[in-house]
Structure formats: structure tokens, C-alpha cells
């Protein structure tokens, strides 16, 4: 029996390959992600270990200032204190910008956005390994600067030129003369992709911390013979718990750990898509084994006739599955390692040519083999049981392909559909209470499973309709009828495609609804025509001078200007809360169509605070209640009275809005945003240009047309959608293999028919046409199902999130049409191999084929 299984497997290499590819793809995806993550961690740790090699012990303060994003400053006195610790050779105060506070202005006068590798502002403490001075010298005066070769390279500034920067602490642009260009050992321009600028210590302190006499870190050199860890512990004991004392090794681990976390989140997404790919391949394997069992009916019946037990038949099919699973797992693992390594190398390119170290975690090997074997064998269980039910008499009969009932699929699928529909109705009619989203998710999942199981039931009627469009000729008609011959097989093949299309369509519906909701929000509720604010996202928010608000009001064509301040460090009972100040509350409410719920929401006294209904509910606040808010700039909390409550839903969310007279105590005393409404018929471009002139000294601030703003937000959704679609192409690829597989095996099964057709005069191109029609019918069937189910699920999810954000439903008709066309193209492509095989048949042998 064992030998017979091996022989049978080897005699059908094509089917081995086809069913294997699906698993290989899934395994590659998952192991590739795992390998990439492990390799990246190892590589980045290696890189930072190199970077911190020269650091013996470093001191930083525990905790960061929530307002500035900077670590709490370390007073100068601490440096002297550390220097006295036994075993310290020297202690140097460092200033290092961890939040992109200092922004470089490029040669076009624009701020360099804080994307990708960071730009670091630091104080000059001399040349230390691995630094090396390429040109000039370090900054000696407070208007001088040294920059890293990577920074010089990317901006084009050269030695001796003026280098403009702007600090979001001071909001002022300053220029520094470049006195030196710094590189690193080994001819590198950067350690890990970062760009660095060095100022004198006082200049760096002012720019980064807004104050002199303090540092962000202290660098400690150990006296010779003193162990880093020992010194760390001694200093830690001296300074107490408000400081973090770390060795260079600790730092390298900590920083690489942060990168690792980001990559981990990204990896989990990749693994999720890998799981979809594996899920799709299950269908492919079930189908392949079902067809194989059908073809081997006589062979298996002969085994039974010769005395093989049912268990032996099951084992023979499962053994075949196990062999395919092991092989596919191993090949998938190999490819996954390659992909992971390539991915790490590609990511390494972003970090200034980081050396990619390959690391294959045990989890990758285990999951590769587990997925390969378990998935394949699970998928083969049903076909194996069916194989065991073949009676010995089948060996003597003509292998009649008795049509099997689709009733069980109808019943089970129907139950799931009804359950899902019920849950959905329950959730949407608002009877599910707090569990609404859970019930909703359960309903959607149940509907999806139901739809998948129900597919064979609608296969025949739907396939017949689709096929009718294509049966203008005899070959077309034959292709259509062939696709309807075995509804279960057609359905399972189409299901693999359906899953991919369902997911992209559902996500597409959510994406286009999100964009439509954004559009509607901006059109209906935002009366502001221009929003003046930060040009690029960064951790610190740039501001502009308060006087500019008045100057804007004077620009011809401007109807209304509302300035907004934000205190990022404000707390209530120690918890950070969002506190906003405006100079014209009525104007703000008008611009964002915010409605009054209670009290006065038009004006604000110095001690008044306005909140919205959500905040009132969440914090249990009523009109007239007192709120103790501690603003960043004031040592003690100040008492505010709730003077008005607005309806939720407008701009600002759940924050506390107070009068702008309090802005003196904010993180930045200057406004961070302004909203401008224009006179009817005013020339938007002209006003924008004039306001831009007013903001000439604020390169971090831009004037945004609101319609352009909504475009920017929509762009983000576009990018997410594109990434999702690209990743799901893998699942689609597996589905294509499924169609190829089914058709190839069907062609083999119908060898005699093909022989007959060729004998009575069907040309090769007509045979190709026949196979193509069958293929296209199956794939279009899958695409249509996917579109329908995906649209349904997407709409259901949108309805569930209606109150959250997605208030407008929009269907992505263009992409849906694209998927339908893609279905046709996939069908045509998938037919190529089976059609080739069909045409390769020898007519004579085909006719007498058993």
C-alpha cells in the first residue's frame, strides 16, 4: 500500500507540483515575515551596538515632557555630581534632539519634513570614535555649526555656507555658518541613516530645550579597569530614581527594541495576509485531492477488492497529503528565508547601508512545517474519507461520475447565512446594546462562512447564466456545459478566487466610504476655506506669532479669522487632557457648524470652559461645574467653570476649550492654527499668496486650502488601500493556480471526449476556445460572488461604523469593475496550460483512453 502510494504520487508529478505551489506561497509569506523580523532585529542591534561602542555609561532623565516630547532636562549640577563618582574618568553634558524640534530649511526655503530617518540636533563635544572630521572644524562660536556628511549631501549645503534652521521652541528662523563636515569611520556618511547637526552647547540648549544650563544626557567615560556595569550601578545609586543610567550595551538594546516593535506591528499585518493565503490554499488542496480521488476510483476500488481496509485507503490519501505538505513546507521555508533576507537588505538600505545579518528563528521553521503538513492533511481529510467509501465493485464498473447532492451545503451554508443575517439585524436595529460591534463582527464572519459554504448551491444556475453570454459557438457552449458539470468542483475552485475578491471589495467599500465621509464632512460642516497650520506631521507642533492673526484679518477678501492655541501638557488630576484656546468661540462654532446644547457657547470669559456632550457625559460634568486644569506654564491648577456645552460631532472632539487669554501659560504662547473664512467670490489663490507673505518667517507653517486638505487625508486611505490590494494579490495568485489545477485535471478526466471532438473535426483553436470559456466562466463566477459578498460585508461594516465615522456609504464602482475584468483575464490566463495539454493529446490514444 505504501509503495503503491509513492508510485501513484510519482506518476503524477504535475498534480504534485500544482497542489504544492499553493502551500509553498502561503508558507513563503509567513516564514518570510518571521525571518525578516528576526534578521532585522539582529541587524539593527548590531548596528546600534557599533554606534554605542564608544559609550561606557550614559545618563538620561526618567520620563519625558509631554508638551515638548523632549526628555526632562538634566540640570548642569548633575554633571559635576556624576564626575565625583568613584571610577568616573569624565562626565560630559550632551544635548540631543529626540523629537525633531530643530528643523532644517532647505535651499528652497522649505522645511525638510520629518519622514524616515531622523534629523538630530546635538551639542559639539569634540571628535569621538566613530566620528571623524572630513572638512573644517567643530563649531566654536554660537553662530557656527558642524553637520554630518549625510546632511550635507541631502541638502546641498557646503562648508562655509549659511545653514538655516528653525526650532519649534522659539518659532524663529536662525542661520549658522557651517564650519565642519563630519563623517564616520569606514568612509560612512551616517551611522544608521540619521542626519546630524552639532551646535555649540549654549546654542544647542536654546534651540532644543529653550533654556541654558541643562542637558538631555550625560556621557560618562569609565576610568580604566572599571567595569561598565559596575559603574552604571554606582552612578545609579548616587543619582536615585529620577535618572536612567545605562551602559552602551543597554542603550543599543533599548533603541533596537523600539525599532523592533514598529517592525513587529508591520510583520503582524504581513502574517495576517499570509494566513489568508494559507486559507485560500486549503480550498485548492481540497479540490485537488477530490479530483485525484475521483480519478483513482478504479485503482482504489481495486485495492479494496484485493482486501485493503478502509483505514488503509484513508491512510494512503493522507500519506500523499503529508508528503506534499512536507515538501511544500521545506520549499516554502527556503523561499521564505530568501524573501526575508531580501526584505531585510532592502530595509537596511533605508538605514544607510546597514549590514543585513540573516537570522532564521525556530518559529519560522516550526510554522513552515506545521502549516505545510497540518493544512495539507486537514484539507485532505474529506477527500480521504470519500475515497474510503468507494465500494470494491467500482473497480469493475465504468467509473460513473455520479452527481452528488449539494443539499448538505445548502443546509449548512443556509444556517450560517441565517445566523449571520440575524446577528446583523440584531446589531443594526440597535438591540444589542454595548456588544453591538461584537455582534456585528460575529454576524459578518458568519455571513462570510455561510456564503463560502453555500457557493455550490448557486453554482449551477449562476454558471449557466454567465456561460450563456459566452456560448455563441459550439466550443463556447461545450465549455459552458463543462463548467456546470460538477457544481461542487466549480464552486470550490471559484471560492478560492471569491475569498480574495471578497476581501479587497469589502476593504474597498470601507475605503471609498471613508473618503466619501471625509468629503461630506468638509463640504457640510467646515465653513473654513483656509486652514493655516503645520506643514508636516512632527512630534512638536510649530506655531506662529499672534500678531499675524490680526494681519490676516486685514487681508482683502478675508471675512473671518479664528486663531487656535493648544496646551499639550495640560493635566486634570495628573492626567493629560486636550486643552484648546480660541480667540473667537462663536466664529469657531460657525466655521465647524458646531451646535449649542446648553449654556453660552458664543463667548468665553477668562475662567470659562466649554466642553461637548461626549466629554460632559464621560467626565460627568454639568453646566456650572468647576474643573481644575493645570496648564503647562502654571505651577498650580486653575479653576474653570463650565459655561457652555456643545453638541458632539464637530471639530475638536472631547477637549476643553478655554479663552485665548490663558495661552500665556500654554506650551507655546503662540497660536498653532488659524481658520480663515473668505468673502463670497474672493480669489482663494490671491488670499493664500498674501497670507503666505505674512508667514514668510514661518517655513513650518503652510496655508492649506480645505479642499486640498481633504485630498491629503484621502491620499492616506488610497495608500492603505493600495497596500492591502497588493498583498491580497498573493491570495489571488493562489486562486489562479486553483483554476489551472481544476481545469488541468478536468481535461485529463475528459480525455476520451476530447479525442472524440478532435476526431469529428474540432480544430485545436476550437479546443482552446472551449477550455477558455470553461475557465472564464469559473473565474467570473468567483469574481461575481466575491464582489457580491464583499460589497455586502463592506456595507454591513459601514453600517456598523456609521456613528463612529463612516456616515456616508460609497461603492468603489471603478475598482469593482476592474475586479470583474480581472476575473475574465485570470480565466483566460488560467486556461493556457490546460488548453495546451488538451491540444497535446493524441487523438487515437484519447479515443481509446479508459
Amino acid at each position: 500500500m505504501l509503495r503503491a502510494t509513492f508510485k501513484s504520487l510519482l506518476s503524477r508529478k504535475a498534480r504534485l507540483l500544482l497542489s504544492g505551489i499553493a502551500i509553498i506561497l502561503g508558507v513563503t509569506f509567513i516564514t518570510g515575515s518571521l525571518v525578516m523580523r528576526a534578521s532585522f532585529s539582529t541587524s539593527i542591534e548590531g548596528m546600534f551596538t557599533t554606534a554605542f561602542e564608544s559609550v561606557d555609561v550614559q545618563i538620561s532623565s526618567e520620563g519625558t515632557n509631554a508638551a515638548t516630547g523632549q526628555p526632562n532636562p538634566i540640570p548642569e549640577s548633575v554633571v559635576a555630581q556624576v564626575a565625583t563618582v568613584d571610577g568616573v574618568e569624565s562626565a560630559t553634558g550632551l544635548v540631543s534632539d529626540a523629537a525633531n524640534t530643530v528643523v532644517v530649511i532647505d535651499k528652497n526655503g522649505k522645511a525638510i519634513p520629518a519622514f524616515g530617518a531622523p534629523t538630530i540636533a546635538s551639542n559639539w563635544t569634540g571628535v569621538e570614535d566613530p566620528m571623524e572630521l572630513r572638512e573644517g572644524a567643530g563649531p566654536a562660536a554660537d553662530d557656527e555649526i558642524a553637520i554630518s556628511a549625510s546632511l550635507a549631501d541631502s541638502t546641498g549645503y557646503k562648508l562655509g555656507e549659511q545653514f538655516p534652521v528653525i526650532s519649534s521652541i522659539t518659532s524663529e528662523q536662525q542661520s549658522f555658518k557651517i564650519t565642519g563636515i563630519v563623517g564616520y569611520t569606514g568612509g560612512r556618511d551616517t551611522l544608521g541613516g540619521e542626519k546630524t547637526m552639532w551646535f555649540t552647547t549654549p546654542a544647542a540648549q536654546t534651540l532644543v530645550m529653550g533654556t541654558t544650563g541643562a542637558f538631555t544626557n550625560i556621557d560618562v567615560k569609565a576610568a580604566s579597569g572599571v567595569d561598565d556595569n559596575t559603574l552604571r550601578d554606582r552612578i545609579g545609586a548616587e543619582l536615585g530614581s529620577s535618572f536612567k543610567v545605562q551602559t552602551g550595551e543597554d542603550l543599543a538594546k533599548e533603541i533596537s527594541g523600539q525599532f523592533d516593535e514598529i517592525l513587529g506591528a508591520f510583520n503582524n499585518i504581513l502574517i495576517a495576509f499570509g494566513a489568508v493565503a494559507v486559507f485560500v490554499s486549503i480550498f485548492l488542496i481540497i479540490n485537488t485531492f477530490s479530483i485525484i480521488v475521483a480519478q483513482r476510483t478504479r485503482e482504489l476500488a481495486l485495492f479494496r477488492a484485493m482486501g485493503a481496509g478502509r483505514g488503509q485507503v484513508i491512510n494512503s490519501v493522507l500519506l500523499e497529503a503529508a508528503i506534499i505538505g512536507v515538501l511544500a513546507g521545506v520549499v516554502g521555508l527556503g523561499l521564505g528565508v530568501l524573501v526575508g533576507w531580501g526584505g531585510t537588505a532592502a530595509l537596511g538600505g533605508l538605514f544607510g547601508g546597514m549590514d543585513a545579518t540573516l537570522s532564521v528563528p525556530t518559529s519560522a521553521i516550526v510554522s513552515a512545517l506545521a502549516i505545510g503538513i497540518v493544512v495539507t492533511m486537514l484539507a485532505a481529510v474529506f477527500p480521504a474519507i470519500r475515497a474510503s467509501r468507494i465500494p470494491p465493485i467500482a473497480a469493475l464498473r465504468d467509473a460513473a461520475n455520479a452527481e452528488r447532492s449539494v443539499l448538505p451545503f445548502g443546509i449548512i451554508g443556509g444556517v450560517f447565512l441565517l445566523l449571520g443575517g440575524g446577528l446583523l439585524t440584531w446589531a443594526l436595529t440597535g438591540n444589542a446594546g454595548d456588544n453591538r460591534l461584537m455582534v456585528m463582527g460575529g454576524g459578518i464572519l458568519s455571513l462570510f462562512i455561510g456564503a463560502v459554504i453555500f457557493t455550490p448551491v448557486i453554482a449551477r444556475p449562476l454558471v449557466s447564466v454567465i456561460g450563456r453570454i459566452m456560448s455563441w459557438s459550439m466550443p463556447g457552449k461545450l465549455g459552458r456545459r463543462n463548467s456546470g458539470r460538477n457544481p461542487r468542483r466549480t464552486a470550490i475552485t471559484a471560492t478560492a478566487l471569491m475569498i480574495g475578491v471578497t476581501l479587497v471589495t469589502a476593504i474597498g467599500v470601507l475605503g471609498s466610504s471613508a473618503q466619501a465621509s471625509i468629503d461630506k464632512y468638509f463640504e457640510n460642516s467646515v465653513k473654513a476655506d483656509l486652514v493655516i497650520g503645520s506643514a508636516a506631521p512632527s512630534t512638536t507642533i510649530p506655531s506662529f506669532k499672534t500678531e499675524i492673526l490680526g494681519e490676516m484679518k486685514a487681508v482683502p477678501g478675508v471675512k473671518l479669522v479664528v486663531g487656535a492655541w493648544a496646551d499639550l501638557g495640560a493635566t486634570i488630576n495628573g492626567e493629560i487632557v486636550s486643552v484648546i484656546a480660541v480667540d473667537d468661540l462663536a466664529g469657531q462654532n460657525h466655521m465647524f457648524a458646531t451646535k449649542t446644547d446648553q449654556g453660552n457657547t458664543d463667548t468665553l470669559g477668562p475662567n470659562d470652559v466649554v466642553i461637548n456632550t461626549d466629554t460632559a457625559k464621560a467626565e460627568n460634568l454639568k453646566l456650572g461645574d468647576k474643573v481644575e486644569i493645570k496648564l503647562t506654564g502654571s505651577p498650580t491648577p486653575k479653576s474653570f467653570t463650565v459655561s457652555g456645552i456643545t453638541e458632539s460631532g464637530g471639530e475638536g472632539g472631547g477637549g476643553y476649550t478655554i479663552s485665548s487669554v490663558n495661552a500665556e501659560q500654554f506650551t507655546t504662547k503662540n497660536p498653532i492654527q488659524a481658520f480663515v473664512e473668505l468673502d463670497d467670490g474672493a480669489d482663494t489663490q490671491q488670499v493664500t499668496d498674501q497670507i503666505n507673505t505674512l508667514l514668510a518667517d514661518n517655513p513650518l507653517i503652510t496655508v492649506n486650502d480645505v479642499s486640498a486638505l481633504s485630498d491629503q487625508i484621502k491620499q492616506i486611505f488610497d495608500i492603505i488601500l493600495t497596500i492591502v490590494q497588493v498583498l491580497l494579490i498573493v491570495a489571488m495568485g493562489i486562486a489562479v493556480i486553483g483554476v489551472v489545477n481544476t481545469l488541468t485535471l478536468s481535461v485529463l478526466e475528459r480525455t476520451r471526449e476530447l479525442g472524440l471532438l478532435r476526431a469529428v473535426g474540432m480544430t485545436k483553436s476550437q479546443v482552446t476556445g472551449m477550455v477558455t470559456v470553461e475557465s472564464v466562466v469559473i473565474s467570473v463566477f468567483g469574481a461575481i460572488l466575491g464582489l457580491a459578498v464583499g460589497a455586502g460585508l463592506g456595507i454591513a461594516a459601514q453600517q456598523a461604523l456609521k456613528d463612529q465615522f463612516l456616515d456616508t456609504l460609497a461603492m468603489p464602482w471603478n475598482t469593482m469593475a476592474f475586479y470583474l475584468v480581472a476575473g475574465v483575464v485570470i480565466g483566460v490566463l488560467a486556461a493556457l496550460i490546460p488548453a495546451y495539454r488538451a491540444n497535446k493529446l493524441n487523438v487515437l490514444r484519447a479515443i481509446s483512453y479508459e
Binding site: L478, L756, G761, K764, L844
Partner: protein
Amino acid sequence: MASTTMADAGIAARAAGVWKVYGTGEAQVIALRDVSVDLARGRFTAIMGPSGSGKSTLMHCLAGLDTVNRGEVFIGDLRVTGMSDRQLTQMRRDNVGFIFQQFNLLPTLTAEENITLPLSIAGKKPDKAWFDQVIDTVGLRDRLSHKPTELSGGQQQRVACARALVSRPEVIFADEPTGNLDSKSGAEVLNFLRDSVDRFGQTIVMVTHDANAASYADRVLFLADGQVVDELIDPTAEQVLDELKRLEEIVGSRQTQAEGH
């Protein structure tokens, strides 16, 4: 054989000096050795012979299903030898009809669609009067909308006969058409073939090992060891049986001689 057209208008199919060899070296089998036959138009010819005599090979070569190693094959005026796959396909579609032992009907098509299949493939419409005449002759009028699985073996083979006949081919080749049928159904099919020769002037070439089936033919060719060794005109079943017995003895003695060497 320089001329590529048939001089004699009375010949429907012709083999001239045909050799067919399978395999090479030790494993070489000569299926046909220098076979030349003329099959008259409007006649019913049976080809007989012991197993391995080459009778099926001869039919396949004549029908353009297999190629020959040497010699030439003609169907009507067409020189089959040397045709491309496309030409062969077209020739089979337009000039030849087939009836197989296994019925070979398409299970997805109804009886009527199976009958008109060669015409549909060619994109032609059946001649209504002729179609009706064929259907009535085979007696399938009330079975036209049935699928093959709903028909008996005899009915299925009659559908196959009608399919071969409906495009009015130059020749119909029948390969053991009664091999899978009981004697009553077999007789029906043979009577129908005989009828189509007598009434419509159809040319039929039938390979069979059944002496009774051969007795329906106008002429019986006997093959042994890849050669035409004898023929009978208007034979009875007894004559055919006697001839077969004689041939088997000759073949048997030859094999004994060969083994003696």
C-alpha cells in the same frame, strides 16, 4: 504514384503501398506492410482479421487519425498523406464520419446536439429534410432531447450512427460498432448501416471481428500480419467464419515456424 487525384470516380477511399511501423530496433512492429486497397463508393466494406493483423491500424490510417510511414492514402479526391494537422482536422470534419465501439457521445449534450455536433463545430446548419430522414431511419425521433445517460446502449450507438451520417461524409468508418452491444441492438445498428448504404448510397468501412456483423457487408477484406490476404464478395456468416479459421491456422503455423528458428 505521381498523380494526386483519383482517376476512378468510383473509389471513396484508397490506400496505395501503405507501410506502418511502430517502434524501432528489437521492439519494432510492422503493423501494415505494403497494403494497397481501393474501397468502392456506395459500398459496405468490412475489414477482418485476427488480433494484431493490422485491421484497426488500416482503418485509422485511411481515416486520417494516424499517419503512414510509406505509401499514400486518399479520401475521395483528397490526398490525406502529407496533410497538416489543420487540414486533417478539416478533412475529418467534412469528409469522414466515425462510429466507435465505446459510442463516444458527449455527456453534456442532448441526443440531437450530439448528432449535429460535427456540423456545429464547422459552424454549419443541418439540412432539415436530410436530418429528419436520418432521425426517422434510426428511429430516435422521441429521444432527441435526452442526454446520453438516459439512453440505452443500442440507442446511444444509433445516435452515433446518425451523427456520422448527418454531415453526408465521403466515408463512414465504423470501429467494432457492435462490440459493446447485445445481439438484438447490434442487429438494429447493422441493419441501419446496411440501409444507409442501400438507400442513400453511403460508403461505409467497418472493422469487426464478428463474422455475423461482417455478413452484412458487400465485401470483406481479410488482413493477416499487416497484409491483405484474401477477400469475399457478398459473404454469408459461415463463409466468413471458415475463412477466419483458415487464416488463424496459417498465422498459427507461421508463428510456430518463427519460434522454431
